[in-house]
């Protein structure tokens, strides 16, 4: 069972590798940002698999914190993409 969890984690790491390639080629910034976000999601999954494999419940807290905060870089990115760097692209849709 433990080996299975590590193998599942390995597969998630392979998806991380695929996302890294997307960060490298881009070409737009949104693609790079979305790949980084995808890696955040894979990271949460991998942490949970490690928690199961090593039988350490405290590791689940790491997944919790990661899941809570992983989207923050995307928020900063969206802010940076607005005209004055402090706005919200949705403001133009009225």
């Amino acid at each position: 069972m433990t080996s299975f969890l590590y193998l599942a984690g390995l597969i998630l790491l392979l998806t991380v590798a695929a996302s890294l390639i997307r960060i490298h080629i881009g070409p737009t910034r949104a693609e790079r940002m979305m790949s980084a976000q995808l890696i955040g999601t894979s990271g949460v999954g991998t942490v949970l698999l490690l928690a199961g494999a090593e039988g350490n419940g405290a590791m689940i807290d790491v997944a919790l914190v990661l899941a809570l905060l992983a989207a923050f870089a995307a928020v900063a990115f969206v802010k940076a993409s607005s005209p004055d760097g402090a706005g919200d692209p949705e403001e133009d849709d009225r």
Binding site: T2, S3, F4, Y6, L7, G9, L10, L13, L14, V16, A17, S19, L20, I23, H24, G26, R29, R32, M33, S35, A36, I39, G40, G43, T46, V47, L50, A53, E54, N56, A58, M59, D61, V62, L64, V65, L66, L68, L69, A70, A71, F72, A73, V75, A76, F77, V78, K79, A80, D84, G85, A86, G87, D88, E90, E91, D93, R94
Partner: protein, 313 residues
């Protein structure tokens, strides 16, 4: 066991690849994306090394604050120099100097690691032996808040000094103003909703992480980072503004953590040793220090990311 080895090998490969891409990449934004990713992978590596406390700090700092800080800095650079924030005119000499400093630090760290005695248990038996006298069950918290409390005290003061250094960059006419850009968002938009939905959850998680810190991985620094990130989200969503730099309440919030820590230390000094905690009250005192520190660390980190005051206020 082999599956774990293959996992570790893949993780190391990704870590080195991400680090090289972050440093060697030509596009600044791609480098930031790689660096954020690197933080997540380093967190996984700490978990594999059994350092859950460090992984927790890395998850909070790497995923929560570094991304916001770097993307904010990139956004400002882009507005000032154009060309995606990439500055082709950067002279070679500062680049070489930065590389030299980095290589020296890395070399010294490598030497320090190689100088560690191999196979020796270090201070682990000493900590385990005295854990029952520390008042807490998490050995990391016992070391940070009891056995080696003065390190943590100085770290909390260093954080404060870092903020003083950032504030020192404030132009004279803006002194005392509101830090950071004036943030605004569509009131009923996705960002504003997100900014209302997430902070209560973040608050609960932060309080949990401090409380859990006494018996299992967690603690003031991790929780303070979560609070800081959540507060930055509230500000970015245009729901609330950063307080003025000149606010007395803000200054008080900044120093309360180190002050409580120092106060407990001085009372300890009156009864025997500086920062010595009596066994009977150790847990209560550690929790008091941790909660006060969490608050101050959160305020300090949030203001560090916000930067100097905006113009035109």
């Amino acid at each position: 066991m082999t599956a774990a080895f293959v996992f570790d090998a893949m993780l190391c490969l990704l870590l080195v690849g991400t680090a090289v891409s972050a440093v060697a990449g030509r596009d600044l934004f791609a480098s930031i994306a790689f660096f954020v990713t690197y933080g997540i992978l380093i967190g996984l590596a700490w978990l594999r090394l059994g350092a859950v406390d460090v992984a927790l700090a890395e998850a909070a700092i790497g995923a929560g604050l570094t991304g916001v800080l770097l993307i904010g800095a990139w956004s400002m650079l882009q507005r000032r120099c154009g060309d995606g924030g990439n500055d082709p005119a950067m002279p070679v000499l500062p680049k070489l100097a930065a590389a030299a400093v980095s290589v020296t630090v890395t070399g010294m760290l490598a030497l320090a690691v190689l100088a560690l005695p191999v196979g020796a248990p270090g201070l682990v038996p000493l900590v385990t032996e005295n854990l029952s006298e520390s008042g807490v069950g998490n050995p990391v918290t016992a070391v940070l808040l009891n056995f080696r409390a003065y390190d943590t005290l100085m770290e909390s003061i260093v954080l404060l000094i870092a903020l003083v250094a950032v504030w020192a960059l404030t132009p004279k006419e803006l002194w005392g103003g509101v830090p950071g850009l004036r943030q605004h968002a569509r009131p009923d938009g996705v960002l504003a909703t997100f900014g209302r939905l997430l902070p209560p959850l973040g608050l609960v998680v932060a309080v949990y992480v401090v409380w859990a810190g006494s018996e299992m991985p967690g603690g003031a620094f991790q929780a303070g980072t979560i609070l800081a990130a959540v507060w930055l989200l509230v500000v970015m969503a245009g729901i609330a503004e950063e307080p003025r730099m000149s606010s007395r309440l803000l200054r008080l919030a900044l120093v309360v953590g180190p002050a409580v820590f120092l106060g407990v230390g001085l009372v300890g000094a009156a009864f025997g040793s500086f920062l010595g905690l009596p066994v009977d009250f150790a847990k209560a005192l550690i929790l008091a220090i941790e909660f006060a520190l969490t608050f101050s660390i959160a305020v300090t980190l949030a203001l560090l990311v916000a930067g100097t005051p905006r113009e035109g206020t």
